[in-house]
Every structure is written in structure tokens, then in C-alpha cells.
Amino acid sequence: MRAVSQHKWWKALARDRFLYVLLAPVLVYLLIFKYLPIAGEMIAFKNYRLADGIFGSPWVGWAQFQKLFASQEFYTVLRNTIVLNMYQLVFVFPVPIVLAILLNEVRIEWYKRTLQNLLYIPHFISWVVLGSVVIALLSPSTGFVNFMLKAVGLDPVYFMASTTWWPVAFIASSIWKEAGFGTILYLAAMAGIDPTLYEAAKIDGARKLRQIWHVTLPGIRSTIAILLILQTGNMMDVGFEHIYALRNASVTSVSEVISTYVYTRGIVNLQYSYTAALGLFQSVVGLVLILSVNRLIKLLGERGLW
């Protein structure tokens, strides 16, 4: 029996050898650049020394984590990461849904398509550029926004250096970059809604708003669910490039997040093991989050990610 199945395997291998030859470099790539770094997380339990390498450095157990959890900075960075992500969830996540609903109501086809194409543009622009445009627009001396404030007789505000305004600029720039592009999936889901449902709603006397509430929103519920899972899975991770493009020395207390902290302490200040411990903490919590939200969404009767 066993011999037969082995024989089959060989036949399949021989028949599809071309496909396996194609796959081989991919597997080598994944092994070296994806799985080796995962194994490299072990340096969180070591005291990494350049000369000894990942595998040769001495083990120190949980020492790096004890140091991490004892430091005040860890809690600041963790808080900022979670707070900024919460803002994203509350203020940024719903925007594409609303925008998609509005776009879906536009009946003039060319106008709708033009709007969509214009709204997608920021998605393709780098955070460095968007960040510098935001900084330029909000500059207290030469920024457009402050010229407007001065024109109506208000004092100029130095937005980017204020710990109150900086998160607002962060959220607004998020909406600017991704709200338009985020509508693509929702609009596609809306296009798939059976038009007879709208007809039936109309016959029942439902006005536009009720139609949106009872037909459109249920029609895109599973798309919302899936994007919500992905968003929550990212709860421990605020985009490095986004923060890096907007941050400055005056607002570190609200802008320093896990990724920027790992970069400055690890890559710049060479504290590899300490920051690897923080990175591992981040990855594990992220994995647990995405698994549990996926579970929760399935319990609520939606299709999960897997």
C-alpha cells in the first residue's frame, strides 16, 4: 500500500517537474527571508552580539522582556500605538463606507467614474510626499491653513508641534490617503446587490435612507466584517512611514509608536535584542488579535478570513 502511494508521488513529481522547478526558488526565498527571520526572533531571548551572530549569541532567558516591561517608555509607546489605532478604527474606518454609499447614489456614470479616479490618487503617493504637503499646509509661517486663520482674525496655530493637534493631523492625513481607495471593495460589493431588492423596498414605500439602511448596508456587511478583521489585526502596528513622515521632536510623547521606537533604539542605537523582544511582543499580540477577531466574526455568522 505504502509502496503504491510512494510510486504515485514519484509519478506526480516527474509529471509536474517543471512546476516544482518553478517553485523551488520561491521556497528558498521564503526560507531565507521569511522563515529565517522568524527563527531569528530567538535573539529576543539572547544577548545579541554582532561577532557571534544570531545562533552563536548567549541565551539570557526572559531578561530582555523583564527590562522591557520595567521601562516607562514601553508603556508610552504601547499606549500611543493603541490610541492612534483606536482613532483609526473610529474616525478613519467608517469614512470609505460613507463615501462608497454616496458614490453609489450618483446616477451620472461619467461623473461617478471621474470622482472615483480623482479620489484614488493620494493612495499612490508616498507618505513622505503627503507628510511634507501636510507640514507645508499647516506651517505657522507660510502654510495655507494659517493664512486662512489669520484672514479671519485668529492667531496662527503651530499644528504639527502641538500634542493636541498632531493626532488630528495624523487622522486627517490617513483619511486623505486611503478613504477614496478604500471605496473600491465596497462599491464592488454594492454592484453585486440584487436590484430587485431595491425595487421591493421601493414598493414597500422605503425612502432613500431606509433603502440604504435595509438593502445597501446588509449587502456590504461581509466586506465590512473582513476589512474590520484586517484592521484589528493591525492594532499593534501603526504604519512606520506614516508616523516617520509626520513626526518631530516636539510631539514625541504622542507620536512615538512601537515601530518607530524599534527603529530608533534598534537600528540606530544598535540595541538589537531589546527591540527584538518588543517586536516579538508586537507580532504575538497581533497574531492573537487577528485570530480572535476572525473567530468572533464567525461566531456572529459572517464569513471570516479563513
Binding site: 522568524i38 454616496l102 458614490l103 450618483v106 508616498s126
Partner: protein, 289 residues
């Protein structure tokens, strides 16, 4: 029943509102472009909105004469071109075999690839692996770790799966080799998805700067975005308080704007030609994703 004319009001309000959204989205870009063509006097007195004031090309002349931004741009073009070629080849090499349901071991292989999306070694272990391979400060440190995006690979795989099986079968009966089938039949049919992924990968490389920040050390090898970031970080006097950088480094507003315009022009130029492809690409990914 409400009168016909009034019943159309919400629709008109909606259209106007959305037009306003588009305007707000694009105004900052328009403003920056106009600033880049205006005199520094007009910029500092806040006269520039939707059109250039005291039109001049001085900012661009200075940038071209200085040349640093151009070197960075040349580097970015090089990084992008080679990077995209690697990406597309690698993505096809992974997606094509995995799209064949007859492939033995397809399930575990897909799982191995999918897992890297859920859990990955962080910034530091990645850096150490690249460092121990001796790739730091070469562009291989950018290209090799970024050979393939798993998400894009699944997009391409679902496209391959949507192609009719019979095409390949009849070709193989005619005696075509597997390579010929892939090259002559499958890939020509896959132009739309290849175009979409080329756009995604190219934009990714063009805009990327975290990896350059981490892996590239020599000033003459820096990419456009990192160079731009350095210029901007050194520009705003307000942002420099307490960072001990002298005022001499401060670049005028107009030059900063010109640098931004140079950095986004290529993307804005290719965008209109590729916009119908990327929507297809995004939707393709969402079917199975």
C-alpha cells in the same frame, strides 16, 4: 408623493458634496504645484492658492544645478525597474504552479506561503539576517527581501485559476512543452493582471523609504524619497527646535515644493493609463483573499 423637481434635490446635493470632497483631496497637490512655480516673496506673503504668482522656474533650476535630487531619482528608477522585474518573475513562478489543482502538495505549500502573511519576523530579525548575509548598503538588501508580495501572488494565482483548463490541455496534446505553454499561452492571456501588479509593485518601489532608511548607508545611494525626507526635515525651521541643526541648512519653501512636484510627477503621468487595470487587480485579490 413629493414633486418631481424637489425629489431630485438630494441627488444634486450628493453630487455637489462629492465634487467638494474631490476638490479638497486634490487642492493640496494643486497648491504645492503652484507654490513651486511662484516667487519666494509671493509664497511667504501667502498669495499662492490655485495659480502661480510671479511665475518663475528658479526653484527647479536650483534643484537641477545642485544635482543631488537627480542622483537620488536615478537611483530610485534603477531600484524600481530591477525590483519590478524580480517581483513579476517571482510572482509568476509561485502563482502558476499553485494555480494547478493537480499539483501534489499544493495545500501545504499554500499554507507555508500564507503563514508569512499572518506572522513575520520583525524589523530587527529581518535586518540581522540581511546584515549577516553581507547585503547591507547594497540594493540587494532591498530587492531580495522584497522579491514577492504574498498578497499579489494570491491575486495572480486566482487569475490563473480563472483561465480555461482546455487551452493548456490542447497545447500539450500538440506537443508543446510546459515552458512553451506558460510563455506562449498563459502569459499573453494574463496581460491585465500583470499590468495591475506591475503598477502596484512599481508604485511600492517608487514610494518606499523605510527599507532604504534601514539598509542603505551611503549618501550617494539614497533613494528619491529618503532624499526628499532629508530635505524636508532640514527645511522647516520650526521643526528643528532643539535638534541642533544650523539655520544654514534650511531650504526655502519653493524649492521644497519643487522637489515634491518632481517626486510625484512620474506617478501622476502613468496613473491615467493604468487606472482601469488596478481596479481589476484589487477586485481580483478580494475574491479569494
Amino acid at each position: 408623493m413629493r414633486p418631481r423637481g424637489l425629489a431630485r434635490m438630494p441627488g444634486i446635493v450628493n453630487s455637489v458634496l462629492l465634487g467638494l470632497c474631490a476638490y479638497v483631496t486634490l487642492f493640496p497637490f494643486v497648491n504645492i504645484i503652484m507654490v513651486s512655480f511662484s516667487s519666494s516673496r509671493a509664497i511667504t506673503s501667502g498669495e499662492v492658492f490655485m495659480w502661480p504668482v510671479e511665475f518663475n522656474l528658479e526653484a527647479y533650476m536650483k534643484l537641477f544645478k545642485d544635482g543631488q535630487l537627480l542622483i537620488a531619482m536615478r537611483n530610485t528608477i534603477w531600484i524600481t525597474c530591477i525590483g519590478v522585474v524580480f517581483n513579476i518573475v517571482m510572482t509568476i513562478m509561485a502563482a502558476y504552479p499553485l494555480s494547478k489543482s493537480r499539483l501534489r502538495g499544493r495545500k501545504p505549500l499554500s499554507m507555508i506561503i500564507l503563514f508569512t502573511m499572518l506572522f513575520s519576523g520583525g524589523m530587527i530579525p529581518n535586518f540581522l539576517v540581511v546584515n549577516e548575509l553581507g547585503l547591507v548598503n547594497t540594493y540587494w538588501a532591498l530587492w531580495l527581501p522584497g522579491l514577492m508580495s504574498v498578497y499579489n501572488m494570491f491575486v495572480m494565482k486566482s487569475f490563473f485559476e480563472s483561465l480555461p483548463e482546455e487551452l493548456e490541455e490542447s497545447a500539450s496534446i500538440d506537443g508543446a512543452s510546459s515552458l512553451t505553454i506558460l510563455w506562449r499561452i498563459v502569459l499573453p492571456l494574463s496581460k491585465p493582471v500583470i499590468a495591475a501588479l506591475t503598477l502596484f509593485y512599481a508604485v511600492g518601489w517608487w514610494n518606499s523609504y523605510m527599507n532604504v532608511l534601514i539598509y542603505i548607508r551611503s549618501t550617494d545611494k539614497l533613494s528619491l524619497m529618503v532624499k526628499l525626507y532629508q530635505m524636508i526635515a532640514l527645511v522647516s525651521p520650526e521643526l528643528l527646535r532643539g535638534e541642533g541643526v544650523s539655520e544654514v541648512l534650511i531650504t526655502p519653501e519653493g524649492i521644497r515644493a519643487a522637489a515634491i512636484v518632481i517626486a510625484i510627477t512620474p506617478i501622476l503621468c502613468v496613473y491615467p493609463f493604468l487606472q482601469k487595470h488596478f481596479i481589476k487587480g484589487v477586485l481580483l485579490g478580494s475574491i479569494k483573499g
